[in-house]
């Protein structure tokens, strides 16, 4: 599904990713943990095509094909979705019509007609239930004035509607209350199947109790420094990162 091959990338001339390698197969759930500022969000921005991230060398393959030349919208249409760590407030754009627009863009890309508004209404009502959101959020400007947790739910609502094949969740758990964390995790779990892959960035093992990863990576200074199974997350939770970061002499 996704192959990140020895990527060096910078933001504003500062190298952040320093030889990142990561392969995710269809159906797999990978977790990435790591200290603040280590480059986890940069990694997710890299994959989604954020203009700030400048790739110096390396490649990103989606289903075997490089997506480096694709604009963010094309990557999205090909199935990439990033749930933002800090969702953007977009005044003047109504949440509901934005969702329908994105949904229709995807249908158009797949050669389908625009969705019938009634059918979309039905779809959206179901997905709202999944993430525990009130429909009044559809009438509000996109993310504007949403609380931290509401923004995160709204990201997962978009994910549920767009059904991407590669989903990157960048600290979706931060800002969610305990019940919301469960609801949102359940929504994500409903999405998991053999054709879809997930990359879950988090600081807390708690999320991984709900969304159980197949693989856990520890990220530090722009590289994956350790890979293991879900027990690695428990270990990090207990001991912190220091023991991993000690230079091997």
């Amino acid at each position: 599904m996704l192959e990140i091959k020895n990527v060096f990338a910078s933001i504003n001339g500062v190298q952040i990713l320093k030889g990142t390698n990561l392969t995710i197969k269809p159906g797999e759930v990978h977790a990435v943990m790591g200290p603040n500022g280590s480059g986890k969000s940069t990694l997710s921005k890299l994959v989604s095509g954020h203009p700030d991230v400048e790739i110096e060398s390396g490649d990103i393959l989606l289903n075997g094909e490089s997506i480096l030349d694709d604009d963010p919208d094309i990557r999205a249409l090909k199935g990439v979705f990033m749930a933002f760590q800090y969702p953007v407030e977009v005044p003047g754009v109504q949440n509901g019509s934005f969702l329908r627009m994105a949904y229709n863009a995807k249908r158009k890309f797949q050669g389908l007609d625009e969705v019938d508004p009634m059918d979309f209404e039905e779809l959206i009502q179901e997905k709202l239930k999944w993430v525990g959101m009130n429909e009044k959020f559809l009438d509000r400007p996109l993310n504007q004035g949403f609380s931290g947790g509401e923004k995160k739910r709204n990201e997962i609502l978009q994910l549920a509607v767009l059904e991407p094949t590669l989903s990157i969740l960048d600290e979706t758990d931060s800002g969610l209350d305990i019940d919301a964390l469960r609801t949102v995790s359940e929504a994500v779990n409903k999405m998991i199947n053999k054709d879809r892959s997930f990359l879950v960035i988090t600081h807390y093992q708690r999320l991984l109790n709900h969304i159980v990863p197949d693989v856990v990576h520890i990220f530090s200074e722009g590289q994956i420094i350790k890979t293991g199974d879900k027990s690695l997350a428990l270990e990090v939770e207990e001991k912190g990162y220091d023991w991993l970061l000690q230079p091997v002499s």
Partner: protein, 401 residues
């Protein structure tokens, strides 16, 4: 006044009100003085506009003004009575203190010859609860190359009315227009004014459009104005609002989409002469290509005008390195107990918002259209009669982006 004198005088004025206007082209341009446009061409155009308005039921009255005279055959008037008042021929003294603002005044008087007075009829039967808004459309047509119209609108006490002023530009490619439009609002009246222009394909680099509008508000009045600015080669709109009576509000909006080599000069002057009046200005501009926009908003608060609230905002989106937006907020406050805010921004479409929308599969173009739709929408909030204008701005944007 001869056109050539007008050109010369305007060009020579270097006062602050004109400092940002470039008149070197106006000075060199030549305008022939006889009417060229066949009126019948324009008439069919007007008939189409009227038909369109009828089918959408946007207006109660339609006043068609051709070269300063109401055309009775084209107009449909029920709520307005029409009058004319001849201007006295000017004495033409004081040449030395003549500023181009007074040049506009004197040439307007001379060229228009008379003032057209539109009196909104009083609806004597209705009380405050049953009052209905009268919706009037003015279609101002000029056939001559240097045309001036002078219109006075009187809105009686407690009346509610909306005035959509559509200026149909001459078919010829070069012309000077110098119009004046005054609205007098008696106490407790509500007025909304929308300024529209209908351009021609041929409207080219030698069209000059001057408009002075003035609104005088009595006590307890409400005024809303919307200036839909377009791509004409040179436009100067001076809008003056005088608060003559207490407890009144004026909300002024403007939206401009400038896609070619255009110059737009907006001069707002709000005079808070009395207590407890509120004014706001929201002017939004989108500049492409070599557009040049000056927005000057002067708020004056007189001694004794306590309780004044005034707010001004002028966001500009600039899409080209060659475009220029000048924003000049000015405050002249002679009273302590007032609150005046202003903010002007010049920027581009927010990159983060654009990326956010694109990251959901929305194309760059669609994303921009959606963001700009959001940008322009609040200007129209108070003008439900302008749905059509809003749509045409969006269509226009879709074509440019």
């Amino acid at each position: 006044m001869k056109v050539i004198d007008f050109q010369e005088k305007i060009y020579n004025d270097k006062t602050d009100m004109w400092r940002f206007a470039n008149f070197s082209k106006l000075k060199k341009a030549t305008f022939s003085e006889e009417a060229e446009t066949e009126l019948c061409d324009i008439e069919s155009k007007i008939e189409a506009i009227i038909e369109d308005d009828k089918s959408s039921d946007r207006f109660d009255d339609c006043v068609v003004i051709i070269d300063g005279q109401v055309d009775n055959s084209l107009s449909g008037v029920q709520n307005v009575s029409v009058d004319y008042s001849q201007f006295e021929t000017s004495k033409n003294d004081d040449e030395s203190v003549e500023t181009s603002d007074s040049v506009l005044d004197s040439s307007n008087r001379e060229w228009s010859g008379s003032q057209l007075i539109l009196n909104l009829d009083v609806d004597s039967e209705s009380s405050a609860e049953t009052r209905v808004q009268k919706r009037v459309k003015l279609i101002i047509v000029s056939s001559e190359k240097n045309n001036s119209v002078n219109i006075l609108i009187n809105c009686p006490e407690k009346s509610e009315s909306s005035w959509t002023v559509l200026e149909v530009f001459p078919e010829s490619s070069s012309f000077i227009q110098n119009h004046q439009l005054t609205v007098n609002q008696s106490d407790s009246s509500k007025v909304s004014v929308v300024y529209l222009k209908s351009l021609n394909e041929s409207t080219s680099s030698d069209s000059y459009h001057f408009l002075k509008s003035l609104v005088n508000l009595g006590k307890d009045c409400e005024l809303k104005t919307l200036d839909c600015m377009e791509n004409s080669s040179f436009t100067r709109h001076k809008l003056t609002v005088n608060f003559e009576g207490e407890d009144s509000t004026a909300d002024l909006f403007g939206l401009g989409l400038f896609k070619d080599e255009t110059a737009q000069h907006t001069h707002i002057e709000i005079n808070h002469k009395v207590k407890n009046c509120t004014s706001s200005q929201l002017y939004k501009h989108m500049l492409f290509n070599r557009a040049y926009v000056e927005f000057s908003g002067l708020v004056s608060v007189s001694v004794g005008a306590s309780g004044t609230l005034s707010n001004q905002s002028n966001p500009n989106l600039v899409f080209s390195d060659d475009a220029r937006a000048y924003s000049r907020p000015q405050l002249n406050i002679l009273n302590d107990d007032v609150q005046c805010n202003h903010g002007a921004t010049v920027g581009q479409i927010d990159e983060l918002s654009l990326f956010y929308l694109k990251s959901r599969g929305i194309s760059e173009k669609e994303a921009k259209v959606v963001l700009l739709k959001g940008f322009i929408e609040d200007v129209f909030n108070d003008f439900p009669e302008c749905e059509q204008e809003k749509r045409s701005y969006l269509e226009e944007l879709r074509n440019i982006l």
